[in-house]
Structure formats: structure tokens, C-alpha cells
């Protein structure tokens, strides 16, 4: 009974407050999203991965750093569900804790990059003129470098570690968002509804913040979700090259790197973190595709 009244409240044609109207809109988007099974699979796997990483201390069977050289490179067994690595550490526990490092890096990068890209793009696109030219040339400079090389150079220049890997990836990841936000803003700024806001006499900052940026947000969210897999891969690549998380910290890419010697004989040691990277990337991609169908204004 209470669920049907909530549904009615959300789907009503005559909302009685702004909050109700906004929640109703969100609920309709959610209904659209729910109808796409692949996207739902992506969402469920993503939520599961994040939950499992957060709950790692309770789900892990061993200390991820505890070494047992007598039992190194063991096959999966009841004691070690996914076997042990070259120092006898439990791979299952390390993959769980590794999720914290790897997914944590992704979240940190996104939190740094998305607002920066949005701000640069919206300001360049809306203000135009000199500001546009300066901001976009700076963006071009960053875009001109291959992503991994710039990140590598940056990490190498400061000290290798998780923090510098995050900074390095963030440094190379923001330009596409700025480009995207600028393109959207250029389209929006010439629309009549922005002209109408300009005619209220509102300041530029207010127009960008309250009227332009919310319109760019949809495609930005889609792009970020689709990019998350490539951020995971860049983080893993940096780890693989020894420039990301440092041992004994269990990062998925670093785990593959240290185990690559055993790929032929003890295949499960590098394969399991590889599967984790694959599953996380795929889930983010499916989620991003589903979000695009729902949020992309051009398809609505």
C-alpha cells in the first residue's frame, strides 16, 4: 500500500512542490534506466564491487599483508579461496583490499576532474572571447600529450605512490570533459531560454552556475562513467609499471605486475586481479551506456 502511494506521489501530473517535481523527474529517469537489463547489470556489479571493497576488513579471510613463504603460489583451496601469491599472501583478501585502492583512485580522480572540466568548459563556452581562447589552448596543450606518458612523466618527477598517481591521472583526464562541456555550452548559450535569463539582468556567474552547468551535467556524467574504465586501466598501468601504488599495498595493476613471471605455471596469480580489472571496467561501461540512453538530451 505504502509503495503504491509513494509511486503515485512521484508520478503525479500535479506536483505540489519543487522537491516533488524534481523527485518525480528522477523517478521517471530511474524507470527508463531500469528497463535496460544490461545497464542494470552494470549498476548492480558496480554497487557490489564498491560495497565489497568498503566491507573488505569484514569479508577478507586473511590479513592482505601477512606473508607465509612456506605456502607460496598455492592453488585455490579451502584455506585460500583464490590461492596465494609469490610471498604466500592470500589473493582473495588482497583483491578485496585492492578494490579499495584501485576504486578509491578512480573516485578520487573523478571528484577532482569532473568539476574542473565542467568549470573550464562552461566558462570558456559561455564567456567566449579571450577567456575561451586561453582556456581552450591550455586544454589543447594537455590533450596533445599521450595520456599514460604524461602521467608517467609526472609521477616520475615527484615520488611514485597512490597520491601522485591520482594527481597524474587527474592532470591528464580533465581536458576531454572541458571540451565536452564547452561544446554543450556553446549550444545552450544561444538558446532562447538562456536569452530569457539574460534578460532578467542576471550576472554571468549566476547564469553559468544555475542555468548552463545543470544542462551540461547529463552528458558529463555519462562521459565520466564511460571514462571510469579507462581511468582504472591507467591506474592499473601505472601500478604495473611501478609508478602507482607501491608494494606491499595491494593494487590490482601492481598485483599483475609482480605476478607476471608466473603467468604460465601459476596462471591464477596474475589472472585473478586481471579478472577484477575486467569486471570493474565492463560494469562501468555498461552503466555508462545505460546512463547515456537515459540522460543524453539529444536522445530525449
Amino acid at each position: 500500500m505504502s509503495t503504491t502511494t509513494l509511486r503515485d506521489w512521484l508520478l503525479t501530473d500535479t506536483p505540489s512542490s519543487r522537491a516533488q517535481a524534481a523527485w518525480g523527474r528522477r523517478y521517471r529517469l530511474w524507470c527508463d534506466f531500469r528497463a535496460n537489463p544490461l545497464a542494470m547489470a552494470g549498476l548492480i556489479v558496480t554497487v557490489l564491487l564498491i560495497a565489497v571493497s568498503l566491507l573488505a576488513p569484514w569479508l577478507a579471510t586473511h590479513d592482505p599483508g601477512a606473508q607465509n613463504l612456506a605456502n607460496r603460489l598455492a592453488r585455490p583451496s579451502a584455506a585460500h579461496w583464490l590461492g596465494t601469491d609469490e610471498l604466500g599472501r592470500d589473493i582473495y583478501s588482497r583483491v578485496l583490499y585492492g578494490g579499495r585502492v584501485t576504486l578509491g583512485m578512480v573516485v578520487a580522480v573523478v571528484v577532482l576532474v569532473a568539476p574542473l572540466g565542467l568549470a573550464v568548459g562552461c566558462i570558456a563556452g559561455y564567456v567566449g572571447g579571450v577567456a575561451d581562447r586561453v582556456l581552450m589552448r591550455v586544454t589543447d596543450v594537455f590533450l596533445a600529450f599521450p595520456r599514460l606518458i604524461l602521467a608517467l612523466a609526472f609521477v616520475a618527477a615527484i615520488k611514485p605512490g597512490v597520491t601522485s598517481a591520482i594527481a597524474a591521472i587527474a592532470l591528464t583526464a580533465w581536458p576531454p570533459y572541458a571540451r565536452l562541456a564547452r561544446a554543450e555550452t556553446m549550444m545552450i548559450r544561444s538558446s532562447d531560454y538562456i536569452a530569457a535569463v539574460r534578460l532578467t539582468g542576471a550576472a554571468k556567474a549566476r547564469i553559468i552556475l544555475r542555468h548552463v552547468a545543470p544542462m551540461c551535467l547529463g552528458s558529463l556524467i555519462v562521459r565520466v562513467t564511460l571514462d571510469m574504465s579507462s581511468i582504472i586501466l591507467t591506474a592499473a598501468s601505472l601500478g604495473f609499471l611501478g609508478m602507482g601504488a607501491q608494494p606491499p599495498s595491494p593494487e590490482w595493476g601492481a598485483m599483475i605486475a609482480t605476478a607476471r613471471r608466473f603467468i604460465l605455471d601459476q596462471w591464477w596469480v596474475p589472472t585473478i586481479p586481471g579478472i577484477a580489472i575486467f569486471v570493474a571496467s565492463l560494469a562501468f561501461n555498461l552503466l555508462g551506456d545505460g546512463l547515456r540512453d537515459v540522460l543524453d538530451p539529444k536522445q530525449r
Partner: protein
Amino acid sequence: MITVDDLRVRFGETEAVKGVSFAVPEGSSFGIVGESGSGKSTVLRALSGLNDDWTGRMTVKGQVLAPNRGKDFFRRVQMVFQDPYGSLHPRQTVDRALSEPLLVHGIGDADARIARALAEVALPPAARFRYPHQLSGGQRQRVAIARGLMAEPEVLLLDEPTSALDVSVQAEVLNLLADLQQRRGLTYVMVSHNLAVVAHLCPMIGVMQGGEMVEILSGEDLRAGRTTHPHTTELRALSTELEEA
């Protein structure tokens, strides 16, 4: 109330408006008609402050207008756009759209004012928290008119306010505009390609062709066919043909 003197607007190489002059007394309406591309909307956009790249002299209530307008100008002059599907922010409810001018100008008592504005344009209170896509074209144009009136302007610039609506709704919106003008003593400048619409609302009408205002005549003269410029005669003949067809 409004005078426009030798207004010129260029877009790159082409001169879209070539020295247009007209005057509108307070509480009256001035209609501008012409074909697409004759520069009629450009005149309106220059007057509203949306386009700041013009030369000439324009005054509103005796005040000479600079290319960049201050907030007080936007309290006095507002505009209603042609396409109600494009002039309302798709992610904002009617309530939000109407409260925006109040927030910008620091006008209090938003709740009562919005309710009054909806009543004034004959929208049901239930429409207040709807998104534009939940409204019909005519309702959207009413919202756009209500938004224009929120800051209590003296001048309303109307850019083909009815041409995107179907015929039955056109009449409703025109009657609403006529009502509002009487009640509030508003001054209108209305652009349209539809002679009948302009003649219905405006005692004085300017005819534009190729960026020039070729004739200014009264609505009565237009209806009676006392036109002097061949282009006006042509437009009039076309529109009466259309009506008879």
C-alpha cells in the same frame, strides 16, 4: 515611451538593419511586419539588449540606451520569445522559471507573487510545479508571458509570440496580451509576419523589407488598404489571399 532613431545592426559584412526609426507612445503598441530575414527580429533583439553590436540612438522613457544595460533596464523592459518550446529551461519547473526574475532583482514575497502571476495569465495553480514538457504550447507561452511580467516591466517586446501556436490558441494568447496591456498599461513592440495578428493588436505598424522600414502606417489604413509602398500592398494582398483560401 520608446524611440528608435537610425538603428543599424551589422552581422559581419552584411547590414541586417539599415537605419530604422520609429517611436511608440506610452501604453500603446507598435507592430513590425516583414518577411523572414527582413531584420524585424534583429531590431527587437537590439532594443532588448540581447545584441549589443549596433549603432544609432534608442531611448526608453527618455533614457538613452547604452549597448550594455543595467539591471534597472531589465526591470523595465522584458521580452517574450517566438518559440515557447525553446524559451523555457527544460530542467526547470514553472515555479523556478517564475522565481528567477524575483531572485535576481531581490523582490520578496515570491510565493504570493508567483500564484498571482499564474492566475493573471489564466494558468491553473496545478501547473505551478510542472516541467515545460508537461505543458501544451499555449500554456508554455503563458508561462513565458508570466515570466516576462514577474519584475513588473513597463515595456514588453513580443517576438512573434503566437506564430508557433495553432490558430485557436493564437487567439487566446492575443486576447490575453490585449487584456494585460489594458490592465497594466504596458507598452508593446510586437514583431510578426502575420499582418492580421499585428493589425489586431497594434494601432501603428511598421513594414520592413531588406533591413529598411519602408512604411509606417496605422492599423486602420492597413485594413482599409490605404497603403503607399508596393511591398506593403504586396504583403497585404498575400495575407488576404491566404485568409480567403
